[in-house]
Amino acid sequence: MTSPTPSLELRNLSVSYRVRGIERSVLRDISISIAPGEAYGLVGESGCGKSTAAFAAMRYLPRNGSITSGSILFEGNDITSLDEDRIKDLRINAISMVYQNPVNALNPTLRIGKQVAEVFKLLGKSEEESIELTKEALRKVQIAEPASVMGRYPHQLSGGMAQRVVIAMAIASNPRLLVMDEPTTGLDATVEAEVLDLVRDLRRESGTSVLFISHNLGVIRTMCDRIGVLYAGSLVEEGPTETVLNAPNHPYTVGLLRCIPKGGLNKNSERLDTIAGTPPSLGANLPGCVFVDRCTIAVDRCKTEKPELVDNGSGHFSKCFLSDQAVNMPRAKVPVSPNAQATPTSKSPLLEIEHLSKTFTQDTNDVRVLTDIALSLGEGETLGLVGESGSGKTTLARAILGIISPDEGSTISMHGKKLDALLGKRSAEEVGAVQIVFQNPDSALNRRHTVARIVARAVQKLAGKSREESEELAQNLLRDMSVDALLHSVKPSQLSGGLKQRVAIARSFAGKPELIVCDEPTSALDVSVQANILNLLVDLQKRERVSYIFISHDLGVVRYISDRIAVLYLGRLMELGTSEAVFNGPHHPYTEALLSSVPAIDGSQRVRIRLGGEIPNPSKPPSGCVLHPRCPRVAGSGVEHLCTSVEPPLAEVEPGHFMRCHIPLTNLEKLQSK
């Protein structure tokens, strides 16, 4: 069997960065081979070196980076030490890149047209030709009005639009290899789905090889033929996508897949598995297997010898001495018995929100970020808040907390008593009762204070304890959250992301919280750490009977942890109901589109419903139902005339299930079951 020359080959490549005077290993002896026309996914958590691998393929390393050993081959030619001139030619004609943050990747002071045309000029086209080709290129990436976009500046584009432009620039030269570094991270779910669809279509047309970098296994699954799993700069497993994801052979891959909340799992049925410990620090000296410190089946040999690549057949390799035992490795925690009672006992609702609206005034424009929200939340219940950019979910959270004051006429009540809109006017008990865990623990914890001080101060102010008492109580709280006593006198920058988030959670429990808003609490964390935090939150809820409003863009996580779900679009509540009702359907057309755009990690495919167009500007909302210009179910619904003219009210279509849609539930059911 003669295999064709690989499009890209990394052979025993090692790369290191010089940080503060010391060389640190970022890639350790990795070997990857991408066949022509193949899409190879490189997967790993933060710090594993995947971006470095992507840039190495482009022969582009930062000022302090260097290739310490190994080689890079493009179409069989060694390009490791190729001079800049030749590399430049390759970049113009053969290899292109798509970046993680598309708006930043474009020059803010040049118009889009000029930037895209530059690519064609480098290919030798004349000025006029380049402009024409630019228009065509933009059309090819499904930009409806190329001329208009060409005259704009990058900051005027949405993330999705900017990424299309970057893709247009990348494919302009018909490259033989396309390197994509987390191209859809940070984009809204529906936008991400569109961009991925586009990339798939383009690939099919041109047969380009793709090196696709991502931390999102679901995305990788839908895009790539083969995948490689990277951990601490080392390639631990590699093989055809389906094989690796269905039958992983390395303890890390197994652990990773177990951490992700899948399908119909929810907090009451099963705890998430976790991977103990944290990844090694950048450039650490690892004599044995890179994963040994966190592996549950490690033996002595793993600490001292580097494992070889084990062939598991049909192109599936793993770097482990015990790869056949990996799939059955013990779980980190004992699963909870399925009958554990966690459904909230129905009493009077804890939190009630009525007619909540918020209007921001920007210069002279009035922007209505939230319109007439009505919600209620019971004790010990989790309400998942779902929505894309412009949905207003962060504003809603902050209004409940009192950080933002909502418009006149909005009421927020706890236990029937109205909460003052201004935080400063609420009592200490009221403030302590409603707390938040922020998305970014680096921003949420004062980096100049020690962990103990952060929590103790909160106890002092919210629970009204004395200084000494607070210190002791803080120690207990932190120990409760598995933050070891020896770390209490440490500043947050010394802690890992997961530990920092635990400190933040400990702080939120300082008073007697009855409601905690979790604003994307695990989005900045790695998957393995995320599972840990989610388990912690679930445990705390069971013990303290605290309610959560859980905001996340990750629908799998929301489904796992929420009892009820609210779906927001452009500041309006589109759907509200139990987790099962909202996820299984029949559901609101927007929910339907949202759910279908999330690539599932277990490979299950929903019918893909596309939402055309872009999220409208909140200062100029569409007439009637705000979704109607993009709604996939408007045509043929029979109520089109209503959708365009009258905003539908939030109606109870089933007991406990609310929807803002003109289409009757039975019709939706019929349409969505096809």
Partner: protein, 317 residues
């Protein structure tokens, strides 16, 4: 855009107003006045009072200030106390001299420091970078008069390359005038270079480290092409603001340099007027200086807004 410009001009006027009022009150509130100074410490009290009345110094301060504004707006600055002649006749010629000197310094320092900053940034970490950065900032912190004295000694006296007063005889050719102005300009340039080049360097470094510079390289541009087409236009934007902020230091530097070189510019005039408590000249001088400085900042602001698409778009909405 027009509204933006008008608003900025309005704010500038307010600033000038605050400045002149503040200086006026400050100089008049503290003890000692012009009449006493002119007549000397041994003068008769009655003579002093008579002169005070003549100069209008016995009126309440706000009235004095108001009179001064009225007078200025109608085009006259009053009479100089030390020269006993209209202020304009003394002030404007001196400002012209200073303008010559300042312009030469400005014309040398702006391109030089931008070039220095760009070179330092592109060669970040290498020796040339350290020399430009550390050297520039060290030079900036040494007072102009020290540079002036050293330059006079080394270049003027020991080497005899250039003349040591800045004021040639009337009727000399342009090149002679220029020759006389070189040394004092260098003293000013040495002090201004450091800060501007540092900001230019920082701007270029930020642009070089940016994602869009990376995109330019990965598109296939050479480093030089990337710098010229993408990096510089973004990097030099903040430099405009900093150049405007250096104008006050330029003006301040004129005073010391003109003293060392015995140059009859505005700086020397300011010094003598201060010694004589010559308020008409001081007030007029402060007004003109603040107009120039605030005006330069205004131009820089507007230029920045015009060149920066983000602000330009926001402004024209």
């Amino acid at each position: 855009m027009g509204k933006f410009i008008l608003k900025r001009i309005g704010l500038a006027c307010v600033t000038v107003f605050i400045v002149t009022a503040a200086i006026f009150f400050m100089t008049h509130i503290l003890p000692g006045n012009a009449a006493e100074r002119i007549l000397g410490p041994f003068a008769e009290r009655s003579n002093v009072i008579a002169l005070e009345k003549e100069l209008g110094l016995n009126r309440p301060l706000p009235v004095q200030y108001f009179n001064w504004i009225k007078q200025t707006l109608s085009g006259s600055f009053g009479n100089s106390v030390q020269f006993k002649s209209p202020v304009e006749g003394v002030l404007f010629p001196s400002m012209l001299y200073s303008l010559r000197l300042a312009s030469l310094a400005f014309v040398i320092v702006v391109p030089l420091s931008i070039f220095g900053g760009v070179v330092a940034a592109i060669n970040r970490g290498k020796l040339i970078d350290r020399i430009i950065t550390v050297g520039g900032l060290s030079a900036a912190v040494v007072p102009e008069f020290v540079w002036a004295v050293v330059l006079v000694l080394v270049v003027g006296v020991k080497l005899e390359w250039l003349p040591v007063t800045a004021y040639p005889d009337d009727g000399s050719s342009i090149s002679t005038v220029f020759g006389y102005l070189v040394l004092p300009s260098i003293a000013l340039v040495l002090v201004l270079f450091g800060y501007i080049s540092r900001i230019a360097r920082a701007g270029v470094i930020e642009a070089l480290d940016s994602d869009y510079a990376r995109t330019a390289i990965l598109k296939g541009l050479t480093k030089r092409q990337a710098v010229n087409r993408h990096v510089l236009r973004n990097a030099l934007l903040p430099t405009i603001a900093v150049i405007a902020s250096q104008v006050p230091y330029l003006v301040g530097g004129l005073v010391a340099v003109e003293v060392v070189f015995n140059y009859p510019g505005f700086g020397s005039l300011l010094l003598t007027s201060v010694q004589y408590r010559d308020y008409p000249i001081l007030q007029a001088g402060v007004l003109v200086v603040s107009v120039v400085i605030v005006g330069m900042q205004l131009i820089a602001d507007i230029l920045f807004a015009v060149l920066n698409p983000r602000i330009r778009q926001k402004v024209s909405e």
